[in-house]
Amino acid sequence: MAPKVPPQPTLEQSTAAAEAGHGHAHEAPPKGIMRWLLTTNHKEIGTMYLIFSLIMFFIGGIFALVVRLELFQPGMQFVNPEFFNQMTTMHGLIMVFAAVMPAFTGLANWMIPLQIGAPDMALPRLNNFSFWLLPVAFGLLLSTLFMPGGGPNFGWTFYAPLSTTYAPPSTTFFILSLHIAGISSILGAINIIATILNMRAPGMRMMDMPLFVWTWLITSFLLIAVMPVLAGVITMMLMDINFGTSFFNAAGGGDPVLFQHLFWFFGHPEVYIMILPAFGIVSAIIPAFARKRLFGYASMVYATGAIAVLSFLVWGHHMFVVGMPLAAQLFFMYATMLIAVPTGVKIFNWVTTLFRGSISFEPPMLFALAFVVLFTIGGFSGLMLAIAPADFQYHDTYFVVAHFHYVLVPGAIFSIIAAVYFWLPKWTGHYPNVRLAQWHFWLSVISVNLTFFPMHFSGLAGMPRRIPDYALQFADFNMVSSIGAFMFGFSQLLFVAVIVMCVRGGQKAPAAAWGEFADDLEWSVPSPAPLHTFETPPTFKRPAH
């Protein structure tokens, strides 16, 4: 059973290590593409998720750069408005559903079994199926760009009637692709819940789980609760478009505002789906490099739970201007502000963990620290938007764009990058190249602020979202944003370079790659992690606090 050369050097090492480390032989994996189509190994599936989301991150990034190119100067330069609309829409859809969500699922696949001492996910074949649904879903979605009438052009929120009565003919394909992606997320969530609740190492209680596991458990519950609502909404759209129903059509007794209620009932928990796992990642990285235990573990768990519960009660803050009664506006406004409390608890805990720590600035720590600072800025602009009367001014302006990009780019994306740098030694057996990763960090952190900070100002001055042309007074802000966006986009090539170099070689990492304060179970298996780990469950030893 000589190991064949698989497409990934990572896995060559893993396979070799697995065969060396275990007495009983596993069946030889099928060769070539079939190996990847049929694999049920959580590490291989996790790797596929991560590579898929990285590719989609670049595709969505190219769409963003088309948008920024057009907005570089006022007037219409490069694309026509119809195509511009498709670019903004596809950028949002791809980044949300094909980049950020699968990246977190990939990290969950790789790390949750390792962190709880399980040999694999609870449902390995389902795991394979959930992954392979994604290329189908997003292949279909991207193909709509080549269809007559073009792809989705109604914004990633696809408000009816823009997405029903006035939508391009390809909308039915958009709905199908979203259905498939939704099924993938749901199956992934079921798998993660089943794994976490049933597969923990003997002796590991719920309150012993690493926070990444906790946050993903809560995220999975959110997914199970809201993805069916999304499925319901897009099914109603499908019926309005193709079967003559009138869910969202006033002419037939329906109501377009109902669409917004249903969409945001899904949509607001969805934005927490994209940030809760990030909290877990940062909670693992900061103690490792501050060389202290995480401050307030239990309060982190409860805060995450509180954020998840509150996320169901605040959808109305996306629709303050639809003509809501005053009482509803007040309710949504105060409920939204309440979320700042558990979020503040988290920020406080991270800062307190750093306080009097022995801090060093390895690449994962750089990104985690930038996360804490920049995510907080995004949180503050969120508080501004939560104020109903102020929101009347900010609504649909670039201020909103600045807000959600601050929580998603230096928030979710930075946390994913931090996680990759943090766990690359475990995946590949090598440390990432520090010098290159530092360049990646500084270029990213400078350019992300260059891109999104000016949007606060253009937004406050009244520049509307989703418009390909703008008034002259916004020209300078937009030029700065566009320069920043191109810098940010090209800096991410360094990220790819670091990953590729790290897979191929580099400084060898020991099992506990980041010292004694990164001591969850994943650091007890060799680096790189063998393909099969924890086939005999480890005995969990509670760290002395």
């Binding site: 993805m227 609502v229 499925a231 002419a251």
Partner: protein, 197 residues
Amino acid sequence: MSQDDNEVRQAGVRRTVWRSVAALVGMFAFAWALVPLYDVFCRVTGINGQVDTTAQALVHDDVDESRMVTVQFITRNGSGLPWRLDVETRQVRLHPGQTSEVNFTFSNQSRSENWARAVPSVTPNTATRHVRKSSCFCFEEQLLQAGERVEMPLVFQLDRDLPPEVTTVTLVYTLYPVEGKTQKLQAGVKLDEGGEA
């Protein structure tokens, strides 16, 4: 791991999966249940300007002569229907409790017969529940022959409980074609079937 442990684990996984699937089905059903719930909620509270489209008895107790309310009428045509909807007066001033009748004129400007419905909406929301209509063209769908003009009355009153801060009430009527009863108006324009409005 022993065989027993493994079986316990598998049973646990099965139980978790079935519970998750039950939650999924429940949430999917909940999403659909929100459609009628939303409608009921809006009707009960008067949010969204949705008025009762069944005839209501007018109340003939004494009129509140201490205040006057302006009632404005706005007519609109949605979806490119070749009809006009005109109202004889753009606004009336009346006391709460006073009954008023206003005539609306429907005219079909096309060369074919069409079915349409006028969908009502009331602003501000707080006045919605205080508009009582005993007769309204908006209760049912209308059929107009090619070139036909029809005058139809709206008989209504504002009840005495109208909140004191409301001094102006706007009634909006939007014309929509009724599918299945009209031919398609323009190629590519999708018409929608009328449910009970």
